[in-house]
């Protein structure tokens, strides 16, 4: 298989080359880091709901919608991307999605272990450290005549800019996302205290991927690819493409990793609007902030309820809320235990 090592490339090329190859029926392993930072949303995302476009404009960050799934993310040269492009009939592209991800992400997990980080593949498509922190982002898509897997070695990550560019309902939500990202997403720099040279990262990754892909041979991209990239540049930077998805405005949810999300639910109880901002990890409420225009007396009751819910399984919320009402003499006109449960629902 050909390896197209693009080094540090213009951000748009770091996206469009893997969109071009499958349209041409070509296969290959692309290795690249974007030379400039940018914001990237998933294929099915509504950019106006996911990204703070004014913040991106102020920070002079381009925004791009990729054909791979997943969420909005800030990307820069702190990540080394591997992009595996296979024709659909290639034996390595067959089988279930679970098998496909495992096939290619096990070697990436091995790469981290070779670099000194105890990482492992966690289905569906996460690579996590021994502490359970995500250290790689991955997604896939059927594009043209091929199947594409896109992922990264997260060498370094700008957490502040990441949360700055996300569209959030309020600063409380942003803070929760920031905190959750810091706790659940890590980098080679954080794990090792240093950053290995690029040639070490690339060499280690290639060696492990070669076990699956077979012999890898460096090659330049042929002119046909650059012609296709130029064509895609016209279509995929047009406003109609970026703004091409319109989703009904629903609850706000930011996925931090395979098992962690920050969610904002709003629920209209007869006694007032309840806003619940919760971080949920592996089915447990890590923390919840409750606010709204309801009345709850005494004054400390709300914080008490939040503390009782913190750390509990989401499915136990109903019991916890019932116990809260039994054990404390609270007044909440027009807001019942069932209303709190509804406000905590997973969107």
């Amino acid at each position: 298989m050909h390896v197209y090592d693009l080094g540090s490339a213009p951000w748009l090329h770091s996206q469009l080359v893997y969109h071009a190859l499958p349209r041409l029926g070509m296969e290959g392993l692309i290795l690249v880091s974007p030379a400039e930072p940018y914001v990237c949303i998933g294929y099915h995302q509504d950019v106006s709901q996911e990204v703070d476009l004014e913040a991106c404009q102020a920070l002079k960050l381009p925004v791009f919608r990729r054909e791979v799934g997943g969420g909005a993310v800030y990307l820069d040269g702190g990540q080394l991307f591997y992009q595996i492009v296979l024709r659909r009939e290639h034996p390595l592209a067959r089988g279930s999605k679970a098998d496909f991800y495992a096939r290619f992400l096990e070697p990436v997990a091995q790469t981290y272990r070779d670099l000194g980080v105890q990482a492992s593949f966690r289905p569906v498509n996460d690579i996590v450290t021994a502490e359970g922190r995500k250290i790689s982002g991955n997604g896939a898509a059927e594009i043209g005549q091929g199947v594409v897997l896109v992922g990264n070695l997260i060498v370094d990550f700008d957490y502040e800019t990441m949360v700055r560019v996300l569209k959030v309902p309020d600063e409380k939500f942003r803070d929760k996302v920031h905190k959750s990202l810091r706790e659940n997403l890590t980098t080679l720099r954080r794990e090792l205290g240093t950053v290995p040279p690029r040639e070490v990262l690339v060499g280690t990754l290639r060696r492990n991927l070669e076990q699956v892909l077979g012999p890898l041979e460096d090659a330049p991209l042929p002119p046909a690819v650059w012609e296709e990239v130029a064509r895609l540049e016209r279509t995929h930077t047009a406003p109609e493409w970026l703004y091409g998805v319109h989703r009904p405005a629903g609850e706000r949810k930011v996925r931090i990793s395979g098992d962690t999300q920050v969610i904002r639910n709003t629920y209209k109880a007869p006694g007032g609007l309840i806003r619940a901002t919760l971080e949920v990890k592996a089915g447990h409420i890590v923390s919840v902030d409750l606010s709204g225009d309801f009345f709850l007396y005494p004054q400390d009751a709300l914080r008490d309820l939040e503390e009782r819910l913190a750390g509990a399984p989401l499915e136990a919320a109903s019991e916890i809320i019932a116990a809260f009402y039994r054990e404390r003499e609270v007044e909440s006109p027009g807001v019942t235990p069932a209303d709190w449960v509804a406000a905590l629902r997973m969107a």
Binding site: V68, G69, G95, K97, V124, E142
Partner: protein, 140 residues
């Protein structure tokens, strides 16, 4: 009828891309089979196709996403989309929960009814063999 552990209503036709077709006059409603949604896993997004769009049998016309994987759905017949299931924008999991009823994708007005001959009845041994192979291959 059941093929393995999956239901395939007798009044529908099927292709080998895990699509079903309900034929009513010159119109075909398309959706995904029970086996198809099991292979896909929980569907988190569905791209609802645009009404008025022309589609071609066997060519992609919409997409679904599960597990950060964007998969393309191919049209079961050629024609023009005359209705699309907007509910899927709100609840993409309708495809998982109700693949033959509430999880329908689109209604296509056929441009070539002869294409229906390429589709299968669930009683067709070739289709049953396909379903059983797929289920075995993916452990479903």
């Amino acid at each position: 009828m059941k093929i393995g552990k999956y239901e395939f209503p007798d009044d529908l036709l099927y292709d080998k891309e895990h699509n079903w077709a309900r034929v009513e006059g010159n119109r075909v409603t398309q959706g995904m089979t029970a086996l198809g949604q099991a292979l896909a896993g929980e569907i988190v997004y569905a791209e609802v196709p645009r009404v008025g769009r022309t589609v071609e049998q066997g060519q992609p016309f919409m997409s679904l996403e599960s597990g950060k994987w964007v998969g393309r759905i191919k049209a079961v017949v050629s024609g023009k989309i005359v209705e699309a299931n907007g509910d899927l924008e709100w609840e993409s999991t309708l495809i998982n929960d109700s693949p033959y009823e509430r999880g329908w994708f689109a209604v296509i007005e056929m441009s070539n009814p002869g294409e229906l001959e390429a589709l299968f009845k669930p009683s067709d041994p070739a289709y049953q063999a396909f379903v059983q192979e797929e289920a075995a291959k993916y452990g479903k």
